[in-house]
Each structure stands twice: as structure tokens, then as C-alpha cells.
């Protein structure tokens, strides 16, 4: 049954998200061909255009990312809690199977979104000019970033693998945050969508506070003071070490929050939620 | 075409009457096989269980008899069919006379009207 649910959930997400990400990659190609690929940043004007095109591109990426999670949220809400829910809830499948299917399909597309985002950034940024600069100064750049000491033998595939795991867990946690919000919103009878939005901001705020506290406790806050303090203690600031720490901690936190919200959503779906 | 049924009398009684009517009118002959409950129910646009009840009642009266697997048949007892015919006629006549009385016709006048009507027809 899970397989069948997953088939239809994926189909439904594919319809919108394939188009969305095709657009993302096409605009990346467009920017590469018409802007970044032609610019060598050897004068201020071109540097500015380059900067602006990156800015534009960041907007496109943000929109694609936002759009992806909107589509995932709409699918969950519409399929389970709009009129369509009357069919979905009377299929011979458990509520747990519905939640799992939605979580898997949402996580798959959330991850794909990040992979395609990475790919498109690569398309935009990795112009021959940039690559030449990179290869010419590879050693310096790596040192500057902090690929030294225990991070010196970090190979590219290893970094990618880590980023992939990070993406999957983040996608999972983002999806389940949305689902938990929708389900919590169902408790506000009469204002179910508003309830979902409020729940989303409430959960996000709590999670942000939690992550800020844990980062601060572990001395990984982005606050300059903390960085200076550590530098002052004789330990040079290392970007890779810092990122590894932040990402590692975020991943762990996202995983814990995700699991807690998954259980909460599961329990609410099974015991509380009435269809409108 | 659904059968024309009244709203205020039990449906199964009306179904019985209708089938009796059909038998007397020669839609079904003595010894004929009756359509299945489902087909009759569909034709009449009524619940199959109600049709079943009507047929069972007719069976109890002896007008129908069922052969275990092959279905229901009209009785071959000609006497009984004749009796049914005259019973139905008698009940129609009674009903008619009752109505004429309500209109204020004495029996002789009713008879006269009937005779005139029959003559007029031919």
C-alpha cells in the first residue's frame, strides 16, 4: 500500500516540481551564457554586473526552494485535509502509511531541490574564468578556507556525501515541520489554514531559538565576538572547521526536531484530527 | 418503465396485484416461467427484497410455485386462474358500485348506465 501511495504522491509532486526545476536550470544556463560566462571581472563595472547577476540568481534559487516546499505543503494539505481528504482517508491504508508516504516523497523532492540548486550554482559560477582562477590559486584558496591539518585530506566526494546527508536530513525536517503545522492547524476548527501558518512560525521560532542556544553553548555562534574570542585564545579561525561544526550540529538538531515532530504528527493524525 | 405504484399502500401488496393482473391479462400463461426476482425488481424499479416478498406471498396463495433451482412458474391449475379472474372482476365491480353510490346513483340506474355505455361502444 505504501508503494501505491508513494507512486501517486510522487506523480503529483513531479507535475509541478519538474517544471519548476527545469526553469531553475534553464535560468542558470541563461545567466551563465549571457552574463557570467562573458564577464571576466577585470574592471569595476563588470564586477558590479557579475555581482548583480549573482544577486538575481540567488533570488531565483530562493524562489525555487520556496516554491518546492509550497508545492509539498499544498499536496499534503489538499490530499489529506481538503475535500480530497475524504477519498484519501477512506483508502485502505493506515494514517501512518499516508504520513510516511508524504514524508518520503517530500524528502525526495526537498533533497532533489537542494541537489539541483547546487548544480545550478555550479553552472552559474564555474565559468572557465573562475575555474582558471581557482586552479591557479588552488593551494592558497584551500589553505585560506581551512583545508589544513585534520581537514587536509577531505576529498571532494567526501564533502559531497556529507552535504547529501545534510540535505536529506534538512529536507526531511523541513517537510515534517510543514506537515506538523498543517496537522496542528486542523485543531483550530474554523481557522485551519491560519492555524497552520501560525503553527509553522511558532515551530520555526522555537527551533531557531533552540539552535541558536546550542550553537552558542558550543561556541559556534556567528557572532563576531565568539570568533574573536576563539582567535584570541590562540586558535586561528578555520572556515572549514567552523562550517563542519555548524552543519554537523544543525544536522543533528534537524534530525532530532524532525523525529519529534514526526511522532507528534503521527499521534495527532491518529487520535485527534477530524476532517472539515 | 417503472410500474405505477401508489404511495400509501404497502409496496409488496401492489406488486402482488400487478402480477396477478398480468397473469389474468395473459401477459403470462398458465405454466409459464416468471422472470427472475432481480429482473422483475429492475423492471418495476423496486427493491428486490420487496419483490421477493410479493412473489413468496403469491407462492403461498398457490398462484406460483417454485422449482428449486430453475425459478418460479405460474400455476397450471386452470380452475385457480379462472377463480382469480373472477375474484379480480368482483373486486373491481364492488369498487365501481361503491363509487357510483357515492355519486348518488341507485343500483338500477348504475346498471342502466352500464348497459347504455356498452351499447354506445358497439
Amino acid at each position: 500500500m505504501l508503494g501505491k501511495l508513494l507512486k501517486y504522491d510522487m506523480k503529483s509532486l513531479n507535475r509541478f516540481l519538474i517544471v519548476l526545476h527545469t526553469f531553475l536550470l534553464l535560468s542558470a544556463l541563461g545567466i551563465r551564457i549571457f552574463l557570467t560566462g562573458r564577464i571576466f571581472a577585470d574592471n569595476t563595472a563588470e564586477g558590479t554586473i557579475l555581482g548583480l547577476s549573482f544577486l538575481l540568481y540567488i533570488l531565483v534559487i530562493t524562489a525555487a526552494n520556496f516554491g518546492t516546499f509550497i508545492v509539498i505543503a499544498v499536496r499534503f494539505y489538499k490530499n489529506l485535509y481538503s475535500d480530497e481528504g475524504y477519498l484519501t482517508h477512506t483508502l485502505p491504508a493506515t494514517k501512518g502509511a499516508h504520513l510516511l508516504s508524504k514524508t518520503i516523497s517530500g524528502t525526495i523532492w526537498g533533497t532533489l531541490d537542494m541537489i539541483l540548486m547546487g548544480l545550478s550554482i555550479y553552472i552559474v559560477v564555474a565559468t572557465p574564468f573562475v575555474m582558471d582562477v581557482y586552479h591557479a590559486h588552488r593551494a592558497e584558496i584551500l589553505t585560506e578556507f581551512g583545508f589544513i591539518g585534520r581537514y587536509a585530506d577531505l576529498t571532494f566526494p567526501k564533502i559531497l556525501l556529507f552535504l547529501l546527508i545534510f540535505s536529506i536530513i534538512c529536507a526531511f525536517s523541513s517537510c515534517i515541520t510543514i506537515y506538523a503545522s498543517v496537522v496542528l492547524g486542523q485543531l483550530f476548527s474554523g481557522h485551519r489554514i491560519l492555524g497552520a501558518v501560525v503553527s509553522y512560525f511558532a515551530i520555526s521560532t522555537i527551533v531557531s531559538i533552540l539552535s541558536f542556544i546550542s550553537l552558542a553553548v558550543l561556541g559556534l555562534s556567528t557572532s563576531k565576538d565568539l570568533i574573536y574570542m576563539r582567535s584570541a585564545a590562540g586558535e586561528p579561525f578555520n572556515f572549514v572547521a567552523y562550517m563542519a561544526g555548524v552543519l554537523g550540529l544543525s544536522t543533528l538538531l534537524a534530525l532530532i526536531v524532525g523525529i519529534i515532530l514526526y511522532i507528534l504528527t503521527y499521534v495527532l493524525m491518529n487520535q485527534k484530527i477530524d476532517l472539515a | 418503465m417503472p410500474w405505477d405504484l401508489d404511495n400509501d399502500r404497502p409496496i409488496y401488496l401492489q406488486l402482488m396485484e400487478r402480477i396477478q393482473q398480468d397473469i389474468v391479462a395473459g401477459v403470462y400463461q398458465a405454466g409459464d416461467k416468471l422472470p427472475s426476482v432481480r429482473d422483475l425488481a429492475m423492471e418495476a424499479a423496486v427493491n428486490p427484497n420487496t419483490m421477493q416478498k410479493a412473489l413468496s406471498e403469491l407462492e403461498r396463495n398457490g398462484l406460483l410455485h417454485s422449482q428449486r433451482t430453475s425459478g418460479r412458474y405460474i400455476t397450471e391449475d386452470k380452475e385457480m386462474l379462472k377463480q382469480l379472474k373472477s375474484d379480480l372482476a368482483a373486486s373491481h365491480i364492488r369498487e365501481f358500485i361503491e363509487k357510483m353510490k357515492q355519486l348518488g346513483f341507485p343500483e338500477e340506474e348504475t346498471l342502466e348506465l352500464i348497459q347504455n355505455a356498452i351499447k354506445g361502444e358497439h
Binding site: 476532517l275 | 424499479a45 423496486v46
Partner: protein, 233 residues
């Protein structure tokens, strides 16, 4: 014989003071066509949603063929909700495939036969169909299952009289001795002849549960007239 549907002390409270169902008791035997009748807001739809596991009861139990609502009972029940519950971006043939995929007792050929009878194009998108045609498609899907319990919430509300006849015909045609049909409607007169039994509900409780012919024998009037009398405003 084990009833196909049994509700005991069933209550559903929506807000702190409003009970949509209030200690309702009802048992239905197999092999009947049952009309669930009651004025607006009497609790018909709430009862139907509870049976279909779309609501959680506040109190009481529901047993379908001896089982509490869940995956097993959803295999037995073919449910037509009061509103269109289909993904309107799908084509008619896609929804048929969807039903066939999820319900083992779905008979695809029967669905296509009915589409043909009602002259509905399987390649049409649901979005492009009229309200009445959408209702017909949904009814076709529901009646194409070999279910044990059909629950139809207002099945003939929005369709034209010719289609209504076809629908009643379809219900009769697909009906078998093992199946039970529970249908709620306001249009009593149209369906009175196909019902075995009627259940009147008012303010969340069963006020009458009799066969149509019992009502006619006992009260000397149609279910429709009795309904008007019982629920006179």
C-alpha cells in the same frame, strides 16, 4: 446473524455544547437498502463520516462487520461523500485507474460500461465536467466496487431526473443479497420504492427504524408523508 453495521452509544460533540450525535444506537442487518432520513443538521452526515473513519467519536463504538473503523473496514465500505472528493486535475480514466489500484474489489469493466451508458468521455478532465457529471463519475466509481456496505451521502441531489433513474437503476442492478446500501437523502419520494427500511434521525438520535411496508401498513401513508409529519416545522 452479525450485523453489518452496529453503533452503540455513539456521540459526537463538535463544540463544548453542540452534540451532532447524541447517544445514537443503530444496528443494520446485511442485505438491505436503507434510507437514512432526517432534516438538515440532524446528524446524518456526521454519522456517515464517523462510520468512514473521517471523524473520531466523542463516545461510543462503531462496528462494521464486527470490526472497528480501520484499514479492514475501508476495504468493505464503498463511500460516496456529500462533496466531490476527487483530484479535479485528473482525467476520468486516471481516477478509474486510481480506484482500481487501491481497491481490490473494483471492477474496471463495470466502470467503463457505466461511463459509456451515461455518455461520459473517459479522456475528459474532471475539471471540465459539469457538476452533475462529476457526481455521476463519482457514483460510477463507488458502484463499480463489489463492496459489502455502500454508503451514499446524498447520491441523487444534483443530477437530472433521467440520470437519477439511471442511478437508481444502477444501485438496484449492482445490489446483491450480501451487500447493504445505506443512503442519505432529502428526496425521499424518488427512492422510496427501492428502500427496504428507513431510519429517521433527529437531533443526533434515531427516532424511527422500520421497513417501508411496515410504515405503510401501520400508518397508512407513504414514508414521504410520514417524514413530513414527524419533522413538521
Amino acid at each position: 446473524m452479525k450485523p453489518i453495521l452496529e453503533c452503540q452509544g455513539l456521540s459526537k460533540r463538535y463544540s463544548s455544547s453542540f452534540y451532532a450525535l447524541n447517544n445514537l444506537n443503530l444496528a443494520l442487518e446485511k442485505g438491505q437498502i436503507v434510507g437514512l432520513l432526517g432534516p438538515n443538521g440532524s446528524g446524518k452526515t456526521t454519522l456517515i463520516k464517523l462510520i468512514n473513519d473521517c471523524l473520531h467519536p466523542t463516545q461510543g463504538t462503531i462496528l462494521i462487520d464486527g470490526m472497528e473503523p480501520g484499514v479492514a473496514t475501508k476495504k468493505l465500505i464503498s463511500y460516496l461523500p456529500e462533496r466531490t472528493c476527487l483530484d479535479l486535475s485528473m482525467k476520468v480514466k486516471d481516477v478509474i485507474a486510481y480506484y482500481a489500484d487501491f481497491y481490490e474489489n473494483f471492477v474496471t469493466e463495470r466502470a467503463y460500461q457505466m461511463l459509456q451508458d451515461l455518455e461520459i468521455n473517459p479522456n475528459a478532465r474532471l475539471k471540465s465536467l459539469s457538476k452533475g457529471t462529476k457526481e455521476k463519475v463519482q457514483l460510477i466509481l463507488i458502484m463499480s466496487r463489489d463492496a459489502k456496505l455502500y454508503i451514499l451521502d446524498e447520491p441523487i441531489g444534483g443530477v437530472d431526473p433521467a440520470a437519477r433513474d439511471y442511478i437508481l437503476h444502477t444501485i438496484l442492478n449492482n445490489y446483491n443479497e450480501e451487500a447493504t446500501i445505506l443512503l442519505s437523502t432529502h428526496l425521499i419520494q424518488d427512492i422510496e420504492n427501492i428502500l427496504d427500511r428507513v431510519v429517521f434521525i433527529r437531533q443526533g438520535q434515531v427516532v424511527l427504524n422500520q421497513t417501508v411496508d411496515e410504515i405503510r401498513t401501520q400508518h397508512g401513508k407513504s414514508v414521504d408523508s410520514l417524514f413530513r409529519e414527524v419533522f413538521r416545522c
